[in-house]
């Protein structure tokens, strides 16, 4: 199998995330929004129970780093369940 190794940039991702009640989603969104390569973050609450919340995190940007997003979320005690959607564009030369 051949892979075409063309440089690409992630422009949009949709994550399914599990988090504790604290910090609240607006703080999470602000933290993610301050990361390099990210221009917009949108979070919606999907489910809630006694200790945790399931949220959908939509991130738009010019060059999103999934590792950086994952580390930021983990620092806040959140865990990525799945990457539900991703949009990628060729890196401009």
């Amino acid at each position: 199998m051949e892979y075409c190794l063309v440089a690409t940039q992630i422009r949009k991702i949709l994550l399914d995330v599990l988090k504790p009640h604290e910090p609240p989603i607006h703080e999470l969104a602000s933290k993610l929004g301050s990361l390099p390569g990210i221009s917009e973050v949108s979070i919606s609450l999907a489910e809630i129970d006694q200790s945790t919340e399931s949220i959908k995190v939509s991130i738009d940007g010019t060059d999103i780093s999934i590792d950086t997003v994952r580390k930021s979320l983990e620092e806040l005690g959140a865990v990525i369940h799945s990457i539900d959607q991703v949009s990628v564009a060729k890196r401009a030369k």
Binding site: T52, E74, G77
Partner: protein, 198 residues
């Protein structure tokens, strides 16, 4: 340094330790003030109001309350927070060790311990100042007792008013309520001191 303080404040906010800190502050300041009330009144009522005695007993009590407050609060909060963190780990199916939750947990324990340790010590130290001034002959000896008592009663009033502000009640009435507790205690201690064992 400023960044560290800001981060520490963030951890305190995340841990929700403000409420319990307020309770520890009032409760332990009250303990400190009432302990000194007992020492000063008991010493005066039994004819042992020597400044050296009052300061010695007061410092001893102040130090003991500070140490017991600090260590007791730290161990209690630590156990409570660890339990909470363990339950959260189970719910998240995640370690959480290097997250803000673990750091906030530790920060909350330290903060509660600091409040619990310093508040009784400070409340107990303030009434000793008039006696210290007497000891160093900066103030006349007859002033020590009334000024000290006034400072204790003022502390009680302020603590009561603080509680009134928190509960959005009449601040004056809340202050007077706490003051009444102090006055009743003072009367009882003075009355008992009158029964000298000779």
């Amino acid at each position: 340094m400023l960044a560290r303080i800001k981060r520490f404040r963030e951890y305190l906010r995340l841990s929700g330790v403000a409420g319990i800190s307020r309770r520890y502050f009032v409760l332990n300041s009250f303990d400190g003030a009432m302990t000194m009330l007992g020492i000063i009144l008991g010493a005066s009522a039994t004819g042992h109001a020597d400044p050296k005695f009052v300061i010695g007993a007061g410092l001893g009590a102040s130090f003991a309350m500070g140490v017991s407050g600090f260590s007791g609060a730290y161990l209690t909060e630590r156990a409570e927070r660890k339990g909470r963190l363990r339950r959260l780990r189970r719910a998240m199916l995640s370690d959480l060790r290097s997250t803000v939750h673990a750091k906030a947990s530790f920060a909350a324990s330290i903060w509660a311990a600091l409040i619990d340790g310093t508040s009784p010590a400070i409340a107990a130290a303030m009434p000793m100042i008039p006696y210290a001034l007497t000891l160093f002959q900066i103030a006349p000896s007859w002033l020590a007792f009334p000024v000290s008592m006034l400072s204790i009663l003022a502390t009680l009033f302020v603590l009561g008013a603080f509680l009134g502000k928190i509960s959005r009640e009449n601040v004056l009435m809340a202050g007077l309520r706490m003051l009444a507790v102090g006055l009743v205690t003072a009367v009882i201690v003075w009355a008992f001191g009158g029964f000298r064992i000779g």
